[in-house]
Symmetry: C3
Subunit: 467 residues, 3 copies
């Protein structure tokens, strides 16, 4: 018998490249034969079949073998299961402590402008072309890396390393979004409208620094200390000094179909004293339409550069912004609003310059879905339609949305302009990973000191895929 | 028994998507039962258990579990098989409806110039360094994302989302190649020569827009409506308006070793009326050698910029191009040719400016392979050598090729120049993914109004890997 | 029986992590046993074997089936095993001849400057954000592609295709590091200090070309012939001509905990004779701190540009550099040193300009690990701590390090400056893939002809993840 076994093993070893692995068909065939032969009883046969139909708790594949005494060395490969989620690819070790996932986002836009004074010109573009990787390493360590290839601004979006501890808390170091504003913290792929509102011009965005995040059953808290962004654009000062940010949210209601969210955030930056004399501080924004060329932005505190004003903000000391947020979800209906005020202190001004803005927005899913609130980060997540178009009989999810937003960049002698936008949006969620969007924007603005109105109308559409 | 077996196999086939794969639990359960029944001896039972505890050298994976009532939700991971193709990695769901594949292309070039008048200087470069991802999502939805990192033009190549319907038709939105010209539609990795011919200067290339593709047993048809490219270089106008393109191909013969291809394409663009007065329309091309610096291109309708001409093309109204294609494959021999004519209409010219060019090329596989014609897209695909070098006894595939090309950019007072190139090429296909190329190019040109000839000779070589 | 089954299931559940999945070997063994026991008939046995050898329609398991006569065609997918290593993902074909692996490196830095004369300004940045892919194809063919997205220099790092032959030798073509200097050849992720020493300014770095590498039991040899870099910065000449490089190393001792390394390398470049008259040759370096803006580098042979000198190096003929290396590892202690001298020949100088520098460095692992010497490439590899922090009870590895470095860029009338740096470093290796670093640098420099000293102090820290 010993020989027989050895022989079988050797044979199996030699043959194995030529053999298909033992799959359910062969197993089924075998147990059917054994039952027919009377080797297995009818009851045994049924139990075996049931066991095969039950979900296999083993990850199907090669499993991490015994390594009881020492923690698994990181330099040894650990076995993984691979899965797809929306067409992506994810590899995860059997114990769930290490994982790697590819992420991507593609969005193609077209826009038509009924220009008023500023000439905007129709256009099409790739709005997002992002590729990223995220993963965990031995449980507590996490990382994310995301790059955007759209336009000429090829560059890093996220690049951080995190350590998860005390259950639900995380320390981060690297490049990531400074916690401020519900709209800013919600990923671009999950926004209800094609572009964030006018007030987004006052958020600090992504910066290099260290951060802390935690949450409880109904709340979340995040803070960070940060230097500059990854790639200083021309609208930033050379020496930006250091900033800090804090955001807290509270969600007395947070179920799958109902949520009530309240949030407060503040951010501040102290500028380096030895800053270049030529450096200019600037807040500016497109009219909620990215295809507008940056030379044609309506609101800009540095209208000096476009020759529309003789004043500009220099010799910065510090800036402080505060934000107030509220949102609610009630079945297919949701409401959301934010107010942000920014104080800018420069050596050239006795009093702070004071800019502010707000938006209120509502959405209604005609197909009954609910917006997906995540209380652990105080933000909204991906929408999963009840049915998927293009597979089976589904038509996906349909959403109607309205937004009214305002930004006032006029204060003292700075004439950054004022703008009021009303937007109507329609979103078609084909499936959880694909959606099409259309926005119609009515812009009312007084862009500069002349007080003349510039009131374009904008139609813009988007096709988006992300995973 | 035969029937019984067939029946069991059919049953297994039907049930298999609903079954977990035979895993260790079921196997353990089975051998426990068999031992209890007295079918297996205690020794056999122990030996089987020991064999199961040994590490399984065969890779394996999980299969999709029962999800009978609803279509599989996109937000749940579906199980995948992973495979490599030419060293790449591909993950595909069990039902084949979702997939993800990484693609890449690396090409390193060196060139030596026997300059005539224009000084070209020897050099080496990375010609392509592309990484991409493509996939399908729930069957009908497809996407592709490809980025090129070579040189300083890091940027998007493809970024589109497609919907496949009515069997063989596809709608696309995003950034992709505008259908025009056999040579343009054939991927760079599958070109017979290192660079496309002179007429490629008149193709629209990649643009952001919407498209439609379909094909039948012997034909293909593709059309698109598009705005601007992803990243407007300095040789393009600011407001390019909108373009449209249509290409049809007919292949009365299309087998593995024989093909006859005929094609017609047209493309047109209407420029925005409010275009910048300073904007200049430009067609220009290197002498089929990419390492020539763009300041040293021989042919250029904007010789004004290089001070060789006092005329330039401005105040664009529209352009129209037409292309005629033919190709044939007969075993190891192939012939291919194209003619393109472009009409340029500007407010400054009473009559259209008329530029045109053509090429004819032939190739012969010494090792007997045939060029791989794809009638569904009317283009050529990857060459699979009969043998692979470096594994076993093979020497790969060897191909000799000849091309003659011509471009005439002189019309009215625009002196863009005229050029006639003859190229000899040798290609060594080491295996389907690796090839080495060498081209010797004899250039004859009259680049400008002076009528003086500039006739360099060029040797260039390439090593390429793509998957 | 019910209990028995439940018991078996529980047992299976408990044991499953220790069990390999039921693979073809175990299945074969079982059916062989059952046939031997008379449970299965000969016909049943044959049918089961046939079913197992037939191609398995279940994905999980497609294995490279018999293809005995021809080598496996590269266009057919071969089945793979997937594993993670440090959170990465690797796919490898069953026969080990084809593989694909993703690599990544993220490093976030912050620096504080106690400036002396040159104003340096505190800052934070993403120092590295690299993504790469490497793999083998049919055994002998290899490739690597790596891109860095940090800062504004998004660009290729490695892009090459290699052919492995004669056992341990490899030919390479593409973009890769020119062999020169122990410190340069050791990957950035494995450096003992945050930045390489001052002498790194004299290494040729990455260039496009062809190379050869080989090694024996105690030695390695690498050479290359190369053109320009992938992306010529503004500190390089337009026509760099061609260079060649050779490096040999000898390691009389090379065990896991002990090593003695000696190395010699030389590199030279001959410049194109027709180089632009305006082109300036330049060697310059930051004070071992990357966050210093390049306009504030202390040492620079082109101080002409910063108006500090009236001389610059033009009309290049050729440069030659030689390097001498030594290193030793003795348990947790290691020493390392290099000396580099560069001769610069220009038409404007009768005699060669002669620049030189050196460093000596030592490190001590408080936790007992040894630096990981790789004699096949004559360089240092990744550190694997004895314990990992964040999983189990480990605290990772701790290392103290000291370095003294010098660079002299003064010769004849070129006043590039002289610098002496002393660095103290502390490294915490959390696990093999994550580490935190802190460096304190005491800089002493005489940057220009004025002879005035500029002696800043620098503190810099880094968090790094790489796989």
């Amino acid at each position: 018998m010993r020989n027989k076994l050895a022989c079988a093993l050797v044979l199996a070893g030699v043959l194995s490249p030529l053999l298909a692995q033992a799959g359910p068909q062969q197993m089924l065939l075998l147990i059917d034969m054994l039952k027919e032969n009377g080797t297995l009883t009818e009851a045994q046969h049924q139990q075996l079949k049931a066991a095969m139909m039950a979900e296999d708790p083993a990850p199907s594949s090669k499993q991490p073998l015994a390594q009881q005494t020492l923690p698994l060395s990181a330099s040894e490969p650990v076995d993984v299961m691979v899965s797809t989620q929306g067409g992506s690819v994810k590899a995860e070790s059997y114990d769930g402590r290490s994982s790697f996932q590819l992420t991507a986002q593609i969005a193609a836009d077209a826009a038509w402008y009924d220009s008023d004074i500023t000439d905007m010109g129709n256009a099409a573009e790739i709005r997002y072309a992002r590729i990223g990787a995220e993963g965990t390493l031995f449980g507590p360590w996490e990382y994310e890396l995301e790059i955007d290839f759209a336009g000429e601004d090829v560059g890093l979006k996220d690049a951080w390393l995190g350590y998860r501890t005390m259950g639900d808390s995380r320390f981060k170091v690297g490049l990531f979004k400074t916690p401020f504003s519900l709209e800013e913290m919600t990923p671009s792929a999950n926004q209800t409208f094609m572009e964030r509102s006018l007030i987004n011009a006052m958020t600090p965005g992504r910066n290099v620094g260290v951060g802390f995040e935690t949450y409880g059953g109904q709340w979340s808290l995040a803070g960070s200390i940060f230097g500059e962004g990854a790639d200083d654009g021309d609208d930033r000062l050379d020496d930006e000094g250091w900033g800090r940010s804090l955001r807290g949210t509270w969600a007395p209601v947070a179920t799958d179909t109902r949520a009530l969210h309240l949030g407060l955030s503040s951010t501040a930056r102290t500028y380096g004293g030895d800053s270049d004399d030529e450096a200019v501080f600037r807040i500016r924004t497109d009219p909620e339409s990215h295809l507008v060329d940056s030379n044609n932005y309506l609101l800009d505190t540095n209208q000096y550069e476009t020759k529309k004003s003789k004043y500009k903000i220099q010799h910065m000391e510090h800036t402080t912004s505060i934000g107030v947020e509220a949102a609610m979800v009630h079945g297919p209906v949701s409401l959301q609003g934010e107010f942000v005020r920014t104080y800018v202190n420069s050596e050239d001004y006795m009093e702070s310059l004071d800019f502010h803005g707000f938006y209120v927005a509502g959405s209604w899913f005609l197909t009954g879905e609910s917006r997906n609130y995540d209380h652990t980060q105080g933000r909204f997540g991906r929408i999963t339609p009840y049915s998927n178009f293009g597979w089976g009989e589904g038509s996906g999810a349909w959403e109607m949305a309205l937004r009214y937003s305002h930004l006032d960049l006029d204060d003292q002698d700075i004439e950054g302009g004022r703008e009021w936008n009303a937007t109507v949006g329609v979103n078609w969620y084909v499936n959880p990973n694909i959606r099409f969007m259309a926005n119609y924007i009515v812009v009312n603005s007084e862009p500069d000191a002349a007080g003349e109105e510039d009131d374009p109308r904008i139609i813009q559409v988007r096709g988006q895929y992300d995973f």
